[in-house]
Structures are given as structure tokens and as C-alpha cells.
Symmetry: C2
Subunit: 158 residues, 2 copies
């Protein structure tokens, strides 16, 4: 499990789909415009997302992408895994060159750690994020009116 900007782009794009794709398919050009991600980079990402059955495509005018299923059944971990593809474990994925058990054990430990993160992100669905979003935007507007109190600083930045 790697956590890089690439995964963030993918999650952002998928969230955009979840937010805007309820009626009609969403074109990558739209996502590119809204989320400020280059069209060609989106193409690369969505090729992988499609191969991993997270989205379906509709060609031609009015076409674009749709979530392959409900937002409640697509999880953040799946999205990140899809675009990171072929993470090949840790350079010590069973086949490789751990001289002593010791080395391999620290690797194994790291796998444990990232596996737990993976499980954490496997529990968060796009639907969860959409909901959370609405909650936050509401509370953000409330904060703007009632003057933020300090804890809500990061929200007030917007």
C-alpha cells in the first residue's frame, strides 16, 4: 500500500464522478476542468480504473465515465490499489534476497503495517466521502456565519 499524490488524484477524480455522475456519464474533460488534473493524466488513470472494474465507459457524444456500481460499494483502498498497480510487495516478496530471517522479518512487519492501513481505507466508501463532504460543507457555512472557534481552523481556511 503506497500513499502518494497519484492515489489522491484518483480518489479525487472518482469522488468527482460520484458527485456529478448521478444523471449522465461524466467526461474526463469535465473532471479535468473541475479538479484541475490534466486530461491525458486522467486518461491514464481511468484506463487503470476501468481495467479494475471501478468505472464503466460510454463512448461518443454525451459519453464519459460512470461508477461501475454504487458509491457505497467502491472503497478508497480499491481506487488507490488500482492506480498503483503491481506494487510487488516490498522487494522481498517471497522470491527475493533476504539473507537472514531478520531482514525478512522487518519487511514482514512493514507489510503488516501497510496492510492495516489498507484495511482502514477498505472501510471507507465513496458514499462515505460524499456524505462527509456534505456534512463538512454545511458546517463550513455554519462556521463562516458564527465565526470559527479555533478547532475548526482548517475548515475556516477555505
Amino acid at each position: 500500500m503506497r500513499l502518494t499524490t497519484k492515489g489522491r488524484y484518483a480518489v479525487t477524480a472518482m469522488l468527482d464522478l460520484a458527485l456529478h455522475g448521478t444523471e449522465r456519464p461524466v467526461s474526463l474533460a469535465d473532471i479535468s476542468g473541475r479538479q484541475d488534473i490534466s486530461l491525458s493524466y486522467l486518461e491514464q488513470l481511468f484506463a487503470k480504473l476501468r481495467r479494475n472494474d471501478l468505472v464503466t465507459s460510454v463512448r461518443g457524444p454525451g459519453g464519459g465515465y460512470r461508477l461501475s456500481r454504487g458509491g457505497g460499494e467502491i472503497f478508497v483502498a480499491q481506487i488507490i490499489d488500482a492506480v498503483n498497480e503491481a506494487v510487488d510487495a516490498t522487494g522481498c516478496g517471497g522470491t527475493s534476497d533476504c539473507q537472514q530471517g531478520e531482514v525478512c522479518l522487518t519487511h514482514h512487519l512493514w507489510c503488516d503495517l501497510s496492510e492495516q492501513i489498507h484495511q482502514f481505507l477498505s472501510q471507507i466508501s465513496l458514499a462515505d466521502l460524499v456524505e462527509r463532504r456534505e456534512v463538512q460543507s454545511i458546517s463550513a457555512r455554519q462556521d463562516a456565519r458564527t465565526q470559527a472557534q479555533g478547532e475548526t481552523l482548517s475548515v475556516a481556511e477555505l
Copy 2:
């Protein structure tokens, strides 16, 4: 919070320190030999670890590095943060170019997510890992004797 191999190297090296540095300081050459990380790369990593007060150094013959405090007071998140340094949020760290509130909100959401991972890794200390390690190595030896039963496959690989 980024999760890359760089952070894994740092955690592995720090764990090596925790395991072998109880008596005397541990030289980077030793860690390099045991963990198969290039000496110069370790130098880079430890420069950052030292700047972040996670290790102390002893120069001269017999010198090396020590944990700056007990393994129970050094957490995985601190190690990863130390070597990743200057993560500058998400390209939208307050100062930047979010055209609409919308974009900024997806960013904020991602921050939330990685913040939760950060908190998770902030609860795991080196001491926890050392303990876990011992438990695993013991159970690994037990499994080797009693013939592993399937679930313990990854341990049995060693």
C-alpha cells in the same frame, strides 16, 4: 502523510537500532550490512532523523547512533515524517490556487484521510514493533517445529 519505500527504509533502520542498540551505539555500516541499505543513503536518512531528535550520534571509533529516547516514546509516524520532511500539504495548503470551494474541499477531505493514517501510525511505537517482532519470531519457530497450518503461511515463508 506519504507512504513510500523511503519511510520503510527509515522505519527498518530505526527498528534495527532498537534491536541492536541497547548496549552500545550502532554504526551505519552495521545497519547497512544487516538491512541491505546503502551506507550513503542511510547517512542521508539519519541526518534527518537526527535533526528531528529521533537519534543521537557518537563520533569516533566505537561510535554510531542511539535512539534519542526509549523505543516506547518513538512512533512510526514521527520516523516517516522525519524523512519525508516538507510534505507541504497537498498543493493546496491554504496559500494556493483552488478556483472554487469545491476543489479545496476534496483536498481537505484527502487531508482528513491521511491525517487519520497519521494518527494510526502515531500510536505504534518502536517498542511495540520490537515486541511484535519477538512474538512473531517465537511463533515462527514454533510453527517451523509444529508444521504450519496455512494461516501462518507468510511467516512460514522465511
